[in-house]
């Protein structure tokens, strides 16, 4: 690895849950101020801004920042991973120095939320919506039975994903679902889209988060331990789940992760901690296989056997994930936040000796992916 160019110098989440007093614009501003305070920087230091839910220009103005670099790439929940990668490229190119990567979403209370149009003359509107799909629970889940058929993954193994992750969030006052959940409880919860039950689906909450991305050099002068970006990748394929090239593989994850691991010059053995975006229970299974941590069809048993749970050798989704901690609709910001906490040693369920964390994000229904390799060390040991 060449020396990293960029680092996360500040990171913070807003309150989570039900926040009817905060609009989406407010949540972005709140997240920005919290992240700047964490970094020990002020509005005057900021020259770049990104957001996905709202136009970054609206947020910059409300916040009181006059940016000379901005990025509103909006590719679902992985947008914020993409923004960190783009911000690092801008910093390397000398186009920006201090970039705020922001998220705020009033998914539950729906205050100041822009409509998300799904036009009847679009491809989704013509060739998927007429068949009764109704948002992510009936679309993201559609590939799974083919995967189960080809790999022999069982329903109990699928249910073990939220059950095992509940061991991480158990007792966390910030988690939306802070209780322990057993496999039986997951299987017995309300049917949503068979074979998926309610506890195999993420919850819906309000909240936001902010990151301060700056040069590695500048980050070293600030108050927090820098979290260096060792490598990153992004990839896209079909925006329609019915047009996925292979329903049993997260092919976009494979491409974004290969780019990130290659740039970071790491192998799987170097990874101490993993976040795999878990809007639904099958996504971490696809992710573990796509990232090459296990072979094809092995992920279900790997999770069920506790390898990713507390005490396991590959701690994964250690905030409890979108299934147990929080999910505002675009969850990727919270996956990055948990990686930062683990690398700083301040997580609720802290894993010992985390030096390298990998964050895998997904947008929409395997349509877009991004991967970040983060470390609290400037160079590998």
């Amino acid at each position: 690895m060449s020396r990293p160019v960029a680092a996360i110098a500040g990171a913070a989440e807003t309150s989570l849950g039900r926040l009817p007093a905060m609009s989406e614009l407010d949540l972005h501003v709140d997240a920005a101020l919290l992240a700047l305070a964490d970094a020990g920087l002020s509005l005057d230091d900021v020259d770049g801004i990104t957001s996905a839910v709202h136009n970054p220009v609206e947020i910059a103005h409300a916040l009181g920042v006059r940016p000379t670099w901005f990025d509103g790439t909006s590719v679902g929940g992985t947008s914020f991973l993409v923004h960190v990668r783009h911000a690092a490229a801008a910093i390397a190119a000398g186009q920006a120095e201090v970039v705020l990567v922001l998220h705020g979403e009033s998914r539950r209370s729906v205050v100041g939320r822009h409509p998300r149009p799904m036009p009847a003359d679009g491809m989704l509107g013509q060739f998927e919506l007429p068949f009764g799909v109704y948002g992510p629970p009936t679309m993201f889940t559609l590939p799974y039975l083919r995967y189960a058929h080809e790999t022999g993954t069982t329903l109990e193994q699928l249910a073990s994903v939220p059950a095992r992750q509940s061991e991480w969030s158990h007792g966390n006052p910030r988690a939306a679902r802070p209780s322990l959940a057993s496999v039986d409880e997951v299987l017995a919860s309300t049917p949503i889209a068979w074979p998926f039950t309610k506890l195999m689906c993420c919850m819906v909450s309000d909240g936001g988060g902010g990151l301060v991305v700056t040069s590695a050099e500048r980050a070293r002068e600030l108050r927090r331990t820098p979290v260096y970006l060792w490598g990153s990748g992004e990839a896209a394929d079909s925006p329609l789940v019915s047009q996925m090239p292979d329903l049993t593989r997260a092919e976009t994850f494979e491409r974004s992760a290969t780019a990130a691991f290659t740039e970071a010059r790491i192998s799987h053995n170097d990874v101490d901690h993993l976040m795999v975006y878990d809007a639904f229970a099958h996504v971490p299974l696809y992710g573990l296989e796509a990232l090459g941590f296990v072979g094809r069809g092995e992920a279900g048993a790997f999770v069920a056997d506790g390898n990713t749970a507390p005490g396991g050798h590959l701690p994964m989704n250690t905030n409890g994930g979108g299934l147990r901690y929080t999910h505002t609709g675009m969850y990727g910001m919270f996956a990055i936040q948990e990686a930062v906490r683990q690398l700083r040693g301040e997580a609720f369920a802290q894993v010992p000796d985390v030096d390298v964390s990998v964050v895998q994000g997904v947008g929409h229904f395997f349509s877009e992916a991004a991967t970040l390799v983060l470390s609290n060390r400037e160079v590998s040991a």
């Binding site: 003359d121 007429p130 068949f131 009764g132 590939p143 083919r146 058929h149 049917p191 889209a193």
Partner: protein, 156 residues
Amino acid sequence: MTCIVPLMVPMFVSGVSPGEGAAQALPTPTTRPFWDAAAEGRLAVQQCGSCETHFFYPRIACPSCGSREVSWVDVSGRATLLSYVINHLPAPGFEAVGPHVIAIVQLEEGPTMMTNIIGSDAVPDQLVIDMPLQVAFEDRRGQVVPVFAPREGHAA
């Protein structure tokens, strides 16, 4: 509900008949031939004149080679069941339908598409991955959509 069923397809026993408020496709000039064919009980997709690939959804050029030389062809309507969910979370207009099968099928000519499975109960043991299917057509409040039923002799 009226059903337009090609001769070789068994009449199906149940359909998905969403009511008012259900999403309907609004064709564009490029996609209209698909919907016009469905209204006549034909399943049509595009084929590339250069590399001969069949593709779906409709486009102005072939996504395999970029050729603009594309034409509409009727396909056999034979398909297999790639994957599905049994939906308990009704979309607007589907509230009275009850649990229904939303599937991804693969046409024997290659393209995949989303659809509903009819002619079998919405229970897992009647829905076997890779089971052979045949297209049928369902008139949903004035718009005919292609749906798929287990092929005769292959019902689970």
